[in-house]
């Protein structure tokens, strides 16, 4: 019967998939990441129990429920989830993309901040662009971020300065510079509140109907743009010659050079793209219309943008894979929203602690997986050596 043959064809295939799955390296890494998440959550629960036992379980439950626990409604929670996930999705892409090229972009924070600043400036001064003002502002953020990413790439490629140090330095330079620039602009700056004025509605990101799907929430097209960026990055990395070269440089810079790849160009472009992504995140955050269509402001506090650093766990948990990053950004935001909702009961730092623990454990569970993978490969290699040499090739008596 037709049904039977359909089942006959696909069920064994499905069975095979699940039997082979545990052996696949990527599966093992995924499992180890899940385990790190569990450990992180457990540690969080432990700390909650120690600091305030009576409220611990309620708080923990709130964290797990995450965006579903919005006091107003679930759809508001979900809409807000998309909104809050957007910046770290982009910084996660930024960090993850750089990882693929063998670089550690710890400068996502500075890139994010200059992206915010550029978007802000274009929001105030770019009124001549009319309906496209937000587009121009986003592009401005992207360019500013690209510049801020270009710099560490350039220093590394040309002067051999470690990109971690340069990025860290430019995080601070970016912060002080933007603070200085907004404070000295009397028009924009609101002295009493130590922040800029609100940006005007004409620069807002459009909502594109998301306010109908998630009424009352902050959702806007920012999330869609971020997902679009993720897809573009995925295509670049896996399907293009450029992605081939970038990953090659990340895996083995010597062999890449030997193959004719311009290693310096690859490093610089990679950091610039990473910066552009983080800058885009900053711009999208800046231009958000929010719930009540009151524009955002940029504060002159001496604090590095947290979104930049939160991109690191997003990238790690997403295994530096653009699609994985979409999910890890949503997951981490989910936890953060949960923490926010139960704030009265616990302190928001708990979430950062949980995330810190998750990264800590994922760092070495990843290493264990790689370690075992290497042994498995060594084993296959030796077995092949035996199999292939029963009679050496070209033997002559």
């Amino acid at each position: 019967m037709a049904e039977n043959s359909f089942a006959k064809k696909f069920i064994p295939k499905i069975k095979d998939f699940f039997r082979e799955l545990p052996k696949k390296n990527s599966f093992k890494v995924f499992v180890s990441v899940l385990i790190s998440i569990l450990i992180g959550l457990l540690v969080g629960l432990l700390i909650l129990l120690i600091s305030n036992p009576s409220t611990a379980f309620r708080a923990f439950g709130g964290i797990l429920a995450g965006s579903f626990g919005d006091p107003k409604s679930v759809s508001v929670g979900l809409g807000d989830l998309l909104y809050f996930a957007t910046p770290i999705l982009l910084t996660g892409l930024s960090v993850g993309f750089a990882f693929k090229t063998g670089l550690f972009n710890i400068g996502a924070s500075g890139q994010f901040m200059v992206g915010q600043f550029a978007a802000l400036m274009l929001a105030f001064y770019g009124t001549g662009f009319g309906r496209f003002q937000w587009v121009v502002a986003v592009l401005g953020g992207i360019l500013a971020g690209a510049l801020w990413g270009f710099i560490p790439g350039f220093f590394k490629a040309v002067f051999n300065v470690n990109e971690v140090i340069t990025s860290i330095m430019f995080n601070y330079i970016g912060m002080f510079l933007t603070n200085m620039l907004i404070k000295s602009n009397r028009v924009i700056f609101n002295e009493t509140r130590h922040e800029t004025r609100n940006i005007a509605a004409q620069a807002f990101l459009p909502k594109l109907g998301l306010d109908k799907i998630f009424p009352g929430s902050r959702a806007d097209i920012g999330f869609l743009l971020a997902v679009l960026a993720a897809i573009v990055i995925y295509i670049v990395l896996n399907k293009t010659k450029f992605g081939f070269e970038l990953k090659g440089v990340g895996y083995n810079r010597h062999a890449s050079r030997y193959a004719g790849i311009n290693e310096k160009k690859a490093i610089i472009l990679s950091m610039a793209i990473a910066g552009a992504l983080a800058g885009m995140g900053g711009a999208l955050k800046m231009l958000a219309p929010g719930v009540h269509y009151i524009g955002n402001t940029l504060s002159a506090e001496e604090v590095l943008a947290a979104e930049g650093f939160n991109g690191i766990p997003v990238a790690l948990l997403g295994l530096s894979n653009p699609i994985g990053i979409i999910f890890s950004a949503l997951f981490i935001t989910h936890l953060q929203r949960g923490g926010f909702y139960v704030q009265s009961v616990i302190m928001i730092e708990i979430i950062d602690i949980i995330i810190g623990v998750i990264i800590y454990f994922s760092a070495f569970s990843l290493a264990i997986r790689t370690f075992f993978a290497k042994i498995v490969q060594k084993r296959k290699m030796e077995a092949e050596l035996e199999a292939e040499n029963p009679e050496p090739k070209g033997g002559k008596a």
Binding site: F155, I173, E349, I359, Y360
Partner: protein, 324 residues
């Protein structure tokens, strides 16, 4: 001249912690473990040390012997830093994890932990302490020495002298002791060391723990001279210390000079208004501008000195005894 002495004294407040933490980073990296968690270690050390002082001052202990309190606080900070760094040691040495990721995790965790605990105990994130008691306004004889007396022996803190002692000890340990030789070997060619009977794992643990202790001490000695409260951050000093270490090419004496250099720039950021020439510069919000200067200066110097930069050869590579 008064201004110069003032700036110099300020510079010391910045240079000495940089020196101590950079030396800590040096020990870790010379053994082969990249330690970018210095920032987080400083935060933990500073928190524990300052909290200790806060509690002791509240209950009136050590009121007559403030310097002893200072020393104890440094010890507390150092111990806390060491314990915190053991997390990095475990991940990097035993678990062979990526050292940069591990370090980043510890940096993120440190701030969250510290603010969490502070707010749990005090409801606010800032921990205050009485700074004045620690200032050594004058030394009986030494501060009368012309020039030197004003530079080094007035408005000083115990941590300054401790920093110099740590520097001297570091120089001697590295050049003249078994431990120093073996430690350096582990960061250059761990397999060679292993084949000669050196326990690479133990040496790397030692390197990381030392960086923890010095990082913690550095954290406390950063806070005490420069502010009256600890708010959960050391403003990137741990990272600046890394730059100092690299600029000093992992050599104690060079690290010392680099630290002095950067200390000066940092001091200027805080005290620029005392220098007429700087004060009159036509830049709005000079405070922010001068705060950027140490970082920009670092970048320029690194650009010129990194071509021949030679890090310990095996740093960052987890030690795998089985590999041949």
């Amino acid at each position: 001249m008064e201004t110069f002495y003032f700036i110099f004294q300020q510079a010391l407040y910045f240079s000495i912690p940089l020196l101590i933490v950079a030396l800590g980073g040096m020990f870790s990296e010379k053994s082969g473990v990249v330690n970018i968690a210095l920032e987080g270690i400083m935060v933990i050390g500073a928190f524990c040390g300052i909290f200790f002082i806060n509690v002791m001052q509240k209950i009136g202990a050590f009121a007559s012997t403030p310097q002893l309190l200072f020393v104890l606080a440094l010890l507390v900070g150092g111990l806390a830093g060491m314990l915190y760094a053991s997390l990095l040691a475990f991940a990097s040495v035993n678990m062979k994890a990526d050292q940069t990721i591990g370090g980043t995790a510890l940096n993120l965790l440190s701030v969250a932990l510290v603010v969490f605990i502070a707010r749990t105990m005090n409801n606010v994130k800032q921990i205050y302490f009485d700074q004045q008691v620690f200032t050594i306004k004058e030394f009986p004889v030494l501060s009368k020495i012309p020039v030197i007396g004003d530079m080094f022996f007035k408005n000083a803190y115990l941590s300054t002298y401790l920093g110099i002692i740590i520097l001297l000890v570091a120089i001697v340990v590295l050049k003249k002791t078994r431990f120093g030789l073996r430690l350096s070997a582990c960061g250059e060619h761990p397999h060679a060391a292993q084949s000669l009977g050196v326990n690479v794992y133990r040496m790397r643990w030692a390197g990381v723990l030392i960086s923890g202790a010095l990082g913690g001490i550095g954290g406390v000695s950063y806070i005490i001279p420069t502010t009256v409260s600890f708010g959960g951050t050391v403003s990137g000093y741990g990272f600046l210390a890394l730059a100092v270490m690299i600029f000093g090419q992992w050599k104690p004496l060079r690290i010392f000079f680099s630290a002095i250099f950067f200390g000066f720039f940092s001091a200027i950021a805080f005290a620029y208004f005392k220098i007429d020439f700087l004060n009159n510069l036509n830049i709005l919000h000079k405070g922010d501008f001068f705060k950027m200067v140490p970082y920009i200066a670092t970048m320029i110097i690194l650009a010129f000195t990194s071509k021949k930069s030679r890090a310990p050869k095996a740093e960052g590579i987890p030690f795998d005894p089985g590999a041949r």
